[in-house]
Symmetry: C2
Subunit: 459 residues, 2 copies
């Protein structure tokens, strides 16, 4: 076994420095949905990698640029035949609602062992903790033990709309043996979790326009079509209170969990009480109360979620107006074998057949689900190297509820994709007061250092 005493000491001794660097990155807003600060943030990321000896390129796409970086050992030297690819993203979610933040989202704030700020967890903290691990290896060993490539995109929070094409076009440049995914972390028991699959997603905006301008509700209420009502009725045809999605054919290509999937899911701890406390919900849908059934429903069932509703007057008090326009953001989470293309086709046909041809569908992004084989040796390495850091065995989860563009990594680059990172349940990703725990930031860096060195020496 390699001795990690010196590497761990370097990581601990230089922790404040690394958090300062993370703070600089968080202070640069980079909201993909609002096209805010992306180019500036990409430039900052380029500098951070460049000063660690990586060759860095900012590569354009149809949307936000991708930062590609590589550290290649001289051909023939030990480790030069092994390449580890790391995927991260520099974009973040919108900070709204601003009034619910205890400190401004783009002014990183360290309080009680936590660092707060938009993107500090999702995903800038993961990226900088990995750089911290690389710093430690370079400082202690005088260099890196294998080739390392970074692909850091700027549109993950808007469904990675251009990444699939980027990967197809740059498959050779990205060639690698294994891949570390953008996230990872511990659950509410402090047990590190290995997520081996992501759900897919199909994100749409549904919109209706019934008139050229809003009308006084006293005039039009009885005789004019109302865009808000049209939207409500159209949405109501998609899903009812029984939570069954009513689009004909929607469930046809759903791949149910395998026996091995169920076995792994059954090993997960009870989360019911913890979810209720954390999110302030009083009960779960479909009569679920907890246990393996809750775990399986959480990830193996496709969803139809209203993410936002917009119509008419939304200010304080009353305004008597009949809205000419209404729209909803709707996110379908896809399980293995469902595709965004098919969901779009079924959705259009369904709305038409229900009499809602006036409801427009705007596709805002999507990707299929992707999964890595639990038996892959790299998965085993990541699981084994976690225990000395976290003090407990890593738990393997076959599929998680979130989405991400792992499908082209697995299917085009043909790499196993693993999770390792600094996350924890209270991180509030996508919500106000997003934060990371400093202790887990340190552990995450130590784990990454072990993965890199373990991969380089793996047969």
């Amino acid at each position: 076994m390699t001795d990690f005493t010196q590497i761990d000491r370097y990581i601990a001794d230089h922790l404040d420095q690394s958090l300062d660097e993370l703070g600089l990155l968080v202070a640069q807003p980079s909201v993909a949905a609002q096209n805010w600060g992306l180019v500036e943030c990409a430039a900052l990321v380029k500098d951070m990698l460049g000063k660690r000896g990586f060759q860095v390129q900012i590569q354009s796409t149809a949307g936000a640029p991708v930062v590609f970086a590589e550290y290649l050992l001289p051909p023939g030297s030990p480790g030069a035949d092994k390449t580890l690819l790391i995927y991260n993203h520099y974009d973040v979610q919108p900070p709204e609602p601003l009034e619910l933040w205890d400190s401004p989202p783009f002014e990183p704030s360290l309080r009680d062992g936590k660092l707060y700020g938009r993107g500090v967890s999702d995903d800038k903290g993961h990226l900088v903790s990995r750089l911290h691990a690389i710093d430690a290896i370079q400082a202690v060993d005088g260099g890196l033990p294998c080739n390392i490539k970074f692909i850091i995109e700027g549109e993950e929070e808007v469904s990675s709309i251009n990444l699939k094409q980027y990967i197809h076009e740059h498959a050779e440049q990205l060639a690698a043996d294994v891949c570390i995914w953008e996230f990872g972390g511990v659950d509410h028991r402090e047990v590190p979790i290995q997520y081996l699959g992501l759900r897919g997603i199909c994100y749409v905006e549904l919109s209706v326009e019934t008139a050229s301008s809003d009308v006084h509700s006293g005039l039009g209420g009885s005789i004019f079509p109302n865009a808000a009502w049209r939207l409500v009725w159209a949405l109501n045809t998609l899903k009812g209170p029984d939570e069954r999605i009513r689009i004909p054919g929607y469930y046809d290509d759903v791949d149910p969990p395998s026996a091995r999937d169920r076995e792994l899911m059954a090993q997960l701890p009870e989360v019911a009480d913890e979810y209720k406390t954390r999110y302030g919900v009083s009960s779960f849908l479909k009569g679920l109360t907890g246990g393996t059934a809750l775990h399986i429903a959480e990830v193996f069932e496709p969803t139809c979620t209203i993410c936002g509703l917009t119509s008419g007057y939304q200010g304080p008090g009353s305004k008597t107006v009949l809205p000419a326009r209404a729209s909803a953001k709707v996110d379908f989470r896809l399980v293995p074998h469902q595709t965004p293309e098919r969901v779009l086709r079924l959705l259009r046909a369904h709305l038409d057949s229900e009499g809602f041809s006036d409801v427009q569908i705007t596709f805002l992004g999507g990707e299929p689900s992707g999964r890595t084989d639990p038996a892959d040796p790299f998965v085993q390495l990541v699981v084994e190297t976690a225990e000395p850091v976290y003090g407990v065995p890593m738990q393997v989860v076959p599929l998680t509820g979130g989405s991400g563009p792992n499908h082209p990594f697995i299917e085009v680059l043909k790499v196993p994709v693993v999770a390792a990172g600094i996350g924890y349940p209270g991180t509030k990703a996508h919500a106000p007061n997003e934060n990371i725990r400093v202790d887990l930031y340190e552990k995450g860096a130590r784990h990454i250092a072990r993965i890199i060195k373990g991969f380089a020496s793996q047969l």
Copy 2:
């Protein structure tokens, strides 16, 4: 017949001056829904009446102050036994959406014979045109021929939430023989219209909270309740695409139009094409195509209108969030004999019985419908004095679609309430680019002068 040559000349000669005064009033924002500028606007109105010899008081309510003004003739002098009450309001609708205005809403702009600005029509233009008529009578006759009282409230656009109580408490002070309502005007044929009744209203906000904070949609979509879905399903139980309101008992106390009502409605001109052009709608609800059926449906049927929808992420692009909160603004227009109190009670019972006890109802204001008898002599006076001004007979409409607090005027103060004013179909009240036509502003003042003098000399 009184000769109005001199009065009409005064009104024409001093038109610019009056419009300048209106411009000053419009430049003072006074948005009741946003509690913006109300006290400042009331003070401005007080000054305008004071300099015309009215005794003016600013009287407080639980909300925005009421401006009360009276011009009383010495007891025993001719006309001192007759009192005309004028009702107006100094508050305006919110100016949003700002980007759709061609000139800023609170910077009055005169273009092509029209004056633009928020409130220029609803209701500040009506008020100032009446002052202009009063100026003309005073200038020509050296005084007013009867007592005149003004009640000018500041919460009409938020359902006059405190006016009913104010009228009850100040009934003696407000004592009068007749009342001129806040609005009036011509239709698309340039025919002046006499509206003798208003629908009532019950305006509520429906809100749902399903968790203490928004949740990442990838996590919660399959297992957590979603406030936006709860709201959609609850709204869907209120009304379906057949436009029938599904609240049990809702139609029980609806008073259908009388034979005389139908007779008057049948005299109204066709509006179908004009509505389609003006509002950019392609068809009407319930298979209506026009004619008397459209007129009757427009005002004699109670409504349930979604005025606004709010939930989750509403910005550009996508945000994968499961909303913890959702709300809708909903306006019920009431026909004679329906009351807001009963609608609230039925709505609560209905939501509970449909499984939506989690949907909160916040009452944002309301009032019953109120109607004046078409046979009242003051109504006849207003109709007769319109023809010399407009060149065509005034048309009497028994009920109109809008709402207002006429019920306590009719039921508590026991006055007939008539409409006379400067409105026209293109006025865009409650919408961007609200405007008045200068020619109608002048005609409105001429008509008011005739009503005042006619009322004073009426037996």
